[in-house]
């Protein structure tokens, strides 16, 4: 498009990819049961038609366009089209209820909105009168929308048709050419564990330089492929499915629906894969449940070869020397167990796998490494265009998050908080200069809000906890809730845990059971239950969870600094913590303060010694309506280990 050969913007990258990678697949999507592909050249044409259509509909440079929907190629293309038309795409979490969406759409004053389907259009229309500047809603899937008032609505394909006929190619080119490395590329709202979401503005330079450096770090090439299944509003998806895909030209596959992801993963067999620890935990839980149900011989075969793999697999991956016999046995195991298992999981081709967002249990992490899957950890945040640290091949461990990514500088301040500076550092928080100033200093250093330290020998960063969550107990002992919660969550039966104790004389916990794992356990032990609530309150489930809590106490007691964090009392929640109820962020992180307020009655019972407590909780259904559930919960006591008895003694 432009005369310059620089690749500073996504418009330039796309034009270059259309000639450089031409007929190589850029996007795939399963539709009507068959994988459809679009080449880079085709994508460039589609994007161009969309951009012309947007301009024709009256989009002006600098506008914000919200994108609400699941991972669909057309929505990814619309992001590029919005940029080409001089505007800024703002992907929004599609599972947000209308209320949450209203804040973001109003804050970014979106004039145009790209909505995937009727469900999203309905949400936008519901809050429409509060959105002053809203001009157009463009929808992808026309189903059910025929009878709607089409004053503001237009289908994406109609818009493209409009663009093809408009003859405003010169205008679109002029707008794309006016973009520079410093133009805003995308605005992403942080999930916000505290307070209102903030709009993080990232420039073309932020995204493209970060993508370039990290593609090189992991040798990502045009013949790699990924499955785009994480929310488009999350910075990671933008970096992987747009940033790195445009820079290296690899193929992005979109699943048929959210429910078929696992199946699609197996069919696509991506070489580059990211998933949060939750995903890997869930997968492992499923494998273990199915092995419990398998025949004796199969079970023996699995156990035998998995033991071997745990010893040899990680060493092989790290390129360390292994004896010939062990290698041979690993190969046999690969033929009999590891290979078929990886194939079933859809991970056989994974060359580079990452997990991040939370700590991952060492056993879970080692399980995948043992199978020969190159799973690594990275540490990042939206403000950094994801990458702060990552683990290089050959230096992978469960307890660190790796060395600084290319171009990133790290600093730990006196309080232990981690700071970084990099080409990926965000431009600003939209319409929020105070927060920008308090997060990023004049020299470009950004506070992560996490406490951590750098290992002197290896240079790897280790994260302890959110800096603001680390507190002191009444007796002055250190309190690090995440540390204990992670230990609890490593048990397959425990899905989520929230530990309390800051400023108190003992630690207590709320626990969410994992319905898949505990349900299967109940089935095998002939425990009948009719609902989640009934299972969660079952005395035998309490016994099992108590055993887990006591094991964790024993393990926590070994750490002198944190031995005060042993859990004295706990209760199993009668409902799953849920994003729709505001208890989790949209990226599934616990919102501590909200849970503390909402369940103040339960928390009270944990500390006043009562054996059980009656509670009524408001729940929000997916369509935003509210209902109430009530339950009487038992409070469980757990034994603690001596070390804490000394610390916690009154």
């Amino acid at each position: 498009m432009s005369a310059s050969s620089a690749l500073d913007t996504f418009a330039q990258l796309l034009a270059s990819n259309a000639t450089r990678f031409k007929d190589r697949p850029a996007y795939r999507e399963k539709e009507f049961g068959i994988w459809q592909s679009w080449t880079w050249a085709e994508v460039a044409k589609e994007v161009h038609a969309m951009a012309c259509g947007l301009v024709e509909l009256g989009l002006v440079p600098g506008d914000h366009v919200a994108i609400i929907g699941s991972n669909r190629p057309h929505l990814y293309w619309s992001m590029a089209a919005i940029q080409c038309a001089g505007a800024v795409p703002v992907p929004v979490y599609q599972d947000s209820v209308a209320e949450e969406m209203a804040y973001v759409l109003d804050h970014c004053s979106a004039r145009f909105i790209m909505a995937e389907d009727q469900e999203q259009v309905d949400k936008v229309l519901e809050i429409g009168d509060r959105l002053q500047g809203l001009d157009r809603i463009i929808y992808l899937d026309p189903r059910g929308l025929r009878k709607y008032d089409h004053g503001k609505l237009i289908s994406l394909s109609d818009m493209q048709e409009l663009g093809r006929k408009a003859g405003n190619t010169a205008e679109v080119e002029a707008r794309s050419n006016a973009l520079t490395a410093d133009s805003p590329c995308v605005m992403l709202y942080t999930s916000g564990t505290t307070g209102r979401p903030k709009g993080v503005v990232l420039s073309n330079r932020n995204i493209i330089e970060t993508a370039r450096a990290t593609c090189e770090f992991d040798h990502l090439k045009t013949d790699d492929s990924i499955l785009a299944y994480l929310p488009m509003a999350w910075v990671g998806d933008f970096i992987f499915s747009v940033g790195q895909a445009y820079v290296s030209g690899f193929c992005v596959a979109c699943p048929e629906s959210a429910d078929t992801m696992q199946h699609d993963l197996r069919e696509i067999g991506p070489t580059y894969f990211f998933a949060p620890p939750r995903f890997f935990e869930g997968l492992l839980t499923n494998v273990m449940i199915r092995m419990e149900d398998a025949g004796r011989f199969k079970k023996w075969l699995f156990d035998h070869f998995m033991n071997h793999a745990k010893r040899i697999g990680p060493a092989l991956l790290d390129g360390k020397s292994v004896s010939g016999m062990d290698k041979l046995k690993y190969r046999l195991g690969n033929f009999l167990v590891y290979g078929p298992l990886k194939n079933t999981l859809g991970l056989s081709k994974v060359r580079v796998g990452y997990t991040a967002g939370e700590a991952i249990g060492p056993e879970i992490f080692d399980f995948y490494r043992a199978l020969g899957i190159n799973l690594k950890q990275l540490y990042g945040q939206t403000e950094a265009s994801v990458f702060i640290t990552q683990q290089p091949d050959g230096e992978v461990r469960a307890d660190t998050v790796g060395v600084p990514s290319p171009g990133v500088e790290l600093r730990i301040d006196d309080t232990g908080e981690v700071f970084y500076r990099s080409p990926g550092v965000f431009v600003e928080y939209f319409k929020n200069p105070e927060s920008t100033a308090s997060t990023k200093d004049a020299e470009g250093w950004v506070a992560t809000g996490d406490a951590g330290f750098i290992e002197p020998d290896t240079g790897h960063l280790r994260i302890i906890d959110r800096a603001k969550d680390v507190g002191k107990m009444a007796n002055g002992a250190m309190f690090a809730p995440k540390y204990v919660e992670n230990k609890l969550k490593f048990y397959p039966n425990i899905l989520e845990a929230v530990v309390f104790g800051s400023g108190r004389d003992m630690c207590t916990a709320f626990i969410n059971i994992d319905l898949t794992a505990v349900g299967n356990w109940a089935e095998r032990n002939n425990i009948a239950y009719a609902s989640y609530q009934e299972l969660a309150g079952h005395p035998k489930v309490y016994d099992m969870i108590r055993a887990h809590v006591e094991e964790v106490n024993a393990s926590v007691a070994q750490d002198e600094m944190l031995s005060g964090c042993q859990i004295h009392r706990f209760l199993i929640l009668h409902k799953q913590l849920d994003g729709d109820d505001g208890e989790l962020t949209r990226t599934m992180k616990v919102r501590r303060r909200i849970i503390e307020e909402k369940y103040a009655d339960l928390l009270g019972a944990l500390y006043d010694g009562s054996p059980s407590v009656f509670t009524e909780t408001e729940v929000t259904y997916e369509d935003g309506r509210k209902g109430k559930i009530s339950a009487t919960l038992t409070v469980g006591d757990a034994a603690t280990v001596d070390a804490s008895a000394q610390v916690a003694a009154q």
């Binding site: 539709e31 009507f32 049961g33 068959i34 189903r143 059910g144 025929r146 009878k147 048929e256 629906s257 429910d259 078929t260 199946h263 259904y621």
Partner: protein
Amino acid sequence: MKDGYTTPDGRVIGDVVMEMKNITLKFGGVTAIKDISFDIREGEIRAIIGPNGAGKSSMLNVINGFYHPQEGEVWFRGEKRGPMKPHQIARLGIARTFQNIALFSGMSTLDNIMTGRFTKMTSGLLAQAIWKGKAEREEVENREVVEKIIDFLEIQSIRKTPVGRLPYGLQKRVELGRALAAEPKLLLLDEPMAGMNVEEKEDMSRFILDVNDEFGTTIALIEHDMGVVMDISDRVVVMDYGAKIGDGTPDEVRKDQAVIDAYLGVSHD
């Protein structure tokens, strides 16, 4: 007969597709249906409601041609319809679902819906066995239609799952899929929401409205759940003890004193 009408939400309802004239159906000495007349128009959602034992299912079976009334006439698209076999009815473009799910529980969702394409398969046994020419072409075409239905009903994730393993609400959806696979002009639904929870009912209502909207299918349904019926139908026939006691739009029926007394309970105003 008056011409078609326009619904409050702006859909244009066309001519009469099916007309029941003075139908009486007896089983031995029991009269299940007493002298009932009503019509079903092109593009509308027509409900038949009534308390238990009112004769709703019998009525649906008469429409479907499964029962042959002793008295009265059934007119379909301007022609009087004589006694017919179920497969002949199917070829006329009438498909149905059942009150008690009637799927092949050992077969996958995909295969079950594929059976709904039965009337569109014309290649012979030999051609199907050697899988060449017409048989292969037909299979591809039929599969395409079925995949569109799977997409429409959002059941991609259970495409290959045996339906016996599916929860009740999903089985109902698969059954609707199979009926849709016949690309019916007239779709008969026998208690599509029976035994469902609120969320499943809402989903099913959505799908029924979408079928009507997207494919222009005329729908006749029997339902117990008054709320659902009043929300989604254009016109309602009310039956009690085999007789018709009301007929009209949901609002008209709601105000009809005979209907209130017989079915909705006595008003407290």
